[in-house]
Subunit: 79 residues, 2 copies
């Protein structure tokens, strides 16, 4: 998979169960739809519980706090 | 700019001052280094203050709460 900016081969890094494609030249990142969803869900979990357990990675669940959506979910709600 | 997955032309959406390139076919997203940094900083601001003012967009600043880095900053700290 190639960087849409400079055509370099994208590298892959897994962080908290989320696979991030990134360009080591321009440091841009690509997130597939499913990886973005995981990132948003993990972010919600951290907001709710203050941390992310290793065991949580495989079982994302959607929660809200006081009806407010978290920032990341809000940012990407056009997708 | 083209989608690294399916070659579609990426669209651009601005959210909270962050320019997000996305593929309307596969719904993946691309974030340039500078846009990712903005996103992380905005996320920190939301965590600290509970909201993001329109006026904040142009002046990112790096803050920590109790020495703990926020989730997003942690996820992308390999870059």
């Amino acid at each position: 998979m190639k960087c849409p900016i400079d055509g370099s081969k994208l590298n892959i890094k897994e962080r908290y169960g989320v696979e991030i494609d990134y360009c080591s030249r321009c440091l841009g990142v690509w997130l597939d739809k499913s990886e973005l969803q995981k990132l948003i869900l993990h972010s919600e979990r951290v907001r709710l519980f203050g941390h992310l357990d290793e065991a949580d990675h495989g079982k994302p669940e959607h929660k809200k706090r006081g009806g407010k959506r978290i920032f990341l979910a809000d940012v990407f709600n056009f997708l």
